[in-house]
Symmetry: C2
Subunit: 168 residues, 2 copies
DNA sequence: CATATAATGTAATATCATAACAATTCAAGA
DNA sequence: TCTTGAATTGTTATGATATTACATTATATG
C-alpha cells in the first residue's frame, strides 16, 4: 500500500496531509471495487471521481463541469450527471442534499450509515460513521411503524481548520 | 380550543383524524406567533400555510403554485417563495432538502432539533423531536472541533398507513 | 465479422429558485 | 388628513440544477 497513516480520509483532512497518496489510494480502491462488480471505471468517470477526491470538498455538478477539460472542451451537464450516477451507484460518491453538491466517499465499499459534517466556510466535508446513532434513528422510526429506506444526516457548520482551533 | 385530543400532528396523522380542527388549531397558533413578533400573516402567506397544513405532506414550491387560485390566476413562483421564506423565518414551515419540498411545522414556536420521516409512497411527513439523538449528533461533531450550525436529518421510507400494518 | 450491450455525444427541455425594479399597501407621525 | 418611510406585492426576466430523447460510437462476445 502507498501511504498508510496520515490519510484516514474519514475525518477532516489535515491541510498538510499527503494528498497524492490519499487520492491514489482512493482511486486504487475504486478500481478494485469496479473490477469486483464488473463495472467499468472509464476515463470520464475516473476523472470526475479524481476531481472530487482532489477537492476534499463538496462540488456542484456544474462546478465539476468547469473543473474538467477534455481537449479544450467542457463536458455537457448530462455527461457529468451520468458519471455521478454511476459513481453513486457504486457508493464511490455521495450526494449532499442540503447543499446540492457531490462528494467522494471516504469509505467506499464498506457499509456505512454515514453522516456528513459540511463546512460552510471552506466546503470541506467530513464523512463520519457511527452505527450507534444511525441505529438509534432507525430503531425509533421503526418503532413508529415506519419502514426506513434512506437516511440523510447532514450537519452544516464550521470545521476545525476554519475556526482556527483544532482541538477541543 | 377546538379539538384537543385526536390531532397531535407530531406523528403520522391518522387518515381519519379531524382535519379541520387540526388546521384551525395550527393557523391559530401561527396567528398568535406572528402577533407576538410583530409579523404580518397576510392572506398570501396564510394561504400557503393553509395549503401545506391541509396536505399533511411535503409539497414542492411549484405544486404549491398549482394548488393556489387567486381570482382565476396562479401566483408567480417568486410569490410562493417569498411566502415560504417568511414562514420558514418564523419556523412555521420547514424545507426538506432531500426531496426539494416544504412542509408545515408540527411544533411551531417550540424549540425543536427535529427530524423528518418522509413517506415515499404518500409523501406524508412526520416531524419527530427527540433531543437525545440531536444532542448526541451535535455533541459528537463538537468533540471533533466542528462548530455546529444547522442539522438536516431526514429519513425516507414507508409510513405505517402505506405499509398496511400500524403497529410493530 | 456480426451482434448485442454499454457508454458517449449533442441538443433540447424540465424543474427549482432568485434578481431587479416598479407599484401598491400599511402604519405612524406631522 | 396629508406625508412619509417601510413592508408587501406585481411583473418580468434570468440563474442554477437536473433530465429526456435520440443518434453515434466503443466494447465485449460468439
Ligand atoms: Zn461514504
Ligand atoms: Zn472549513
Ligand atoms: Zn418543526
Ligand atoms: Zn405513506
Amino acid at each position: 500500500m502507498a501511504g498508510d497513516a496520515s490519510l484516514s480520509s474519514s475525518e477532516f483532512p489535515d491541510p498538510g496531509h499527503d494528498h497524492d497518496a490519499c487520492r491514489d489510494q482512493a482511486i486504487d480502491r475504486a478500481e478494485r471495487l469496479c473490477a469486483g462488480q464488473g463495472a467499468r471505471l472509464t476515463p470520464q468517470r475516473r476523472e470526475v471521481l479524481e476531481l472530487l477526491l482532489a477537492a476534499h470538498q463538496a462540488l456542484g455538478a456544474y462546478e465539476i463541469m468547469e473543473g474538467i477539460d477534455w481537449g479544450g472542451r467542457k463536458p455537457a451537464p448530462v455527461v457529468v450527471y451520468r458519471a455521478l450516477d454511476f459513481l453513486m451507484e457504486l457508493g464511490l460518491v455521495h450526494r449532499l442534499a442540503s447543499v446540492n453538491a457531490y462528494v467522494a466517499c471516504g469509505h467506499a465499499g464498506e457499509a456505512h450509515g454515514a453522516r456528513f459534517l459540511i463546512c460552510t466556510d471552506c466546503r470541506t466535508v467530513a464523512e463520519v460513521t457511527s452505527p450507534g446513532i444511525a441505529d438509534a434513528l432507525v430503531g425509533e422510526a421503526e418503532r413508529r411503524g415506519f419502514a426506513v429506506g434512506q437516511l440523510t444526516i447532514e450537519i452544516s457548520g464550521v470545521c476545525p481548520h476554519c475556526r482556527g482551533a483544532a482541538d477541543g
